[in-house]
Amino acid sequence: MNEMTSGHTVKAFTEELDSINQFVIELGELGLDQLRRAVQTLRDEDTKEAGLVIDRDRELNEIDIRADEEIIRLIAKRQPVAKDLRDILTVQKVITDLERVGDEARKIANLTIHFYDNGKPPPSNEILRDIYDMATFVDDMLNKSLQAFVKVDLKIALDVIEHEKRLFDEFRGSLRRLSTFLMEDSRSVGHVVDIVLALRALERIGGHAKNIGGHVIFLITGKDVRHENLSAIYSEVADLT
């Protein structure tokens, strides 16, 4: 249960809001786990486990659909307003982002199969290093974004959004480093392109975490900050921080 939902005269409404919040928690845990397992399959060169990660993405899709059905039913039945409405809209948006986190994790698992199940020499650990560094970074962002949602915490949400600039810098830094591999050995071009795609998938996961931070700010303040820069966001929420 997130801290926004409590105390309706119609207790069933409170229970229904709690139940849709559970979808976020369930999907958040699964998305985070998918990210970790997908990256681990690369470390372990484990194509069998990568296949399981890919199969498991269906579970996330099913939760996404079930949550949508429940949300539509809830809106039709309860006609929510104010923070109840924001709570429901926030859950729907967070669910969408988390489902896409699952899609990006699946892409990384696909890469494991591509690298270690095609009979060709796999990339070196040195060239893979950026993936692990960036995975650690976005893991932290995603984890924090889920905490921000569960605790309805403005500070954590702002912290996640602040991380995005560093994420982008990390991404650009990795691209520069990978370009040196290309300059030193043009035969690495195939691996480098694949790794750039994996980094892009991780960068997208970080982007979804940032979106979740924005959704939490909307939940708390009613202000849509998705397309604003950091200083504008801070001035929007100045009276709450």
Binding site: G7, H8, V10, Q79, V81
Partner: protein
């Protein structure tokens, strides 16, 4: 304007319902006395209410309410039972004068006229500020006479033909003409509930009001009749100013441009309806409209 703001304790800075605990909110509420959160003033007011207090004998029912009612706008007044919203509405055309123990202080103006001025005749006032009640109350007369009665006693028609025109245009504006034009001599009480309520609205319109007050006009009607009245309210806004008291928050959200939330006789919050129903500033408003009490 500045002085009024200070006197009435209007809170310039919105309270922060998310960051405050209930105890904090209660403290803020007490600290500002009858202070109202939100925009009590509008650029183009039809009616202005300043420091309005209402007493029933010793008991105070309305506390220091300041509120503008904008021209060609629908303002809805919501709040739990006994919060004073109907009492306040009835102040706007001095309907409370009919209650012996009721005393109203403060100032209510329509345009520049103080409606509580000692020399003011309440009969034309109640024509200018018409009222529609919860239960449809057609006169025990024909449909035609229900509408024609007001213009006749106020001397608004020059001749029978003019009166016919007023009756037809009033019924047309109330969306009832097509349904009743072939049975104008039949009793108004024979119409369905929804038709009776539209007849009452037509009756109010017939005396050329500027403001129409509606006290829960749909609470005795079925959903289709309610939808017709809501559609009508939206159309009437073009020519009239409307203040509506409703227990249905969805109705307030659907029909009004501004919403005022009353609680224990105080105007807690007023603002754009969109803002009130998506992001209310006061915790009491939030808790009421989300069904946490009331």
């Amino acid at each position: 304007m500045e002085e009024l703001v200070n006197e009435s304790g209007v809170v310039a800075k919105p309270l922060n319902p998310e960051a405050a605990t209930e105890v904090d909110m209660q403290a803020s509420y007490e600290q500002h006395g009858s202070g109202t959160v939100g925009e009590i003033y509008v650029n183009d007011p039809r009616m202005t209410c300043r420091n309005v207090n209402v007493y029933y004998g010793e008991k105070q029912a309305i506390f220091d309410v300041n509120l503008d009612i904008g021209k060609n706008q629908v303002i809805s007044m919501i709040g739990p039972s006994g919060c004073g919203k109907s009492t306040f509405l009835r102040c706007l055309n001095r309907m409370n004068d009919t209650i012996d123990v009721c005393r109203v202080t403060g100032q209510i103006k329509m345009d520049d006229q103080d409606i509580y001025d000692d020399g003011l005749d309440v009969v034309p006032l109640r024509a200018s500020v018409g009222m529609v009640f919860q239960k449809p109350n057609p006169f025990p007369k024909s449909i035609y006479d229900n509408i024609a009665y007001g213009p006749r006693i106020h001397g608004l028609s020059d001749n029978a033909r003019h009166l016919d025109e007023i009756v037809e245009s009033s019924l047309t504006r109330a969306g009832l003409w097509e349904e009743v034009k072939d049975r104008m001599d039949q009793p108004g009480t024979g119409l369905s509930g929804g038709q009776q309520q539209r007849l009452c609205i037509a009756r109010a319109i017939a005396v050329s009001p500027e403001v129409i007050l509606m006290d829960e006009p749909c609470s005795a009607l079925d959903p289709i009749a309610t939808a017709k009245i809501e559609e009508l309210i939206d159309e009437l806004r073009e020519n009239y100013t409307i203040a509506i008291v409703t227990h249905s928050m969805q109705q307030a959200a659907r029909v009004s441009q501004r919403t005022a939330y009353f609680h224990l006789g105080k105007l807690i919050e007023v603002g754009e309806t969109d803002q009130i129903f998506t992001n209310p500033r006061h915790k009491l408003t939030e808790d009421y409209i989300t069904g946490r009490f009331g």
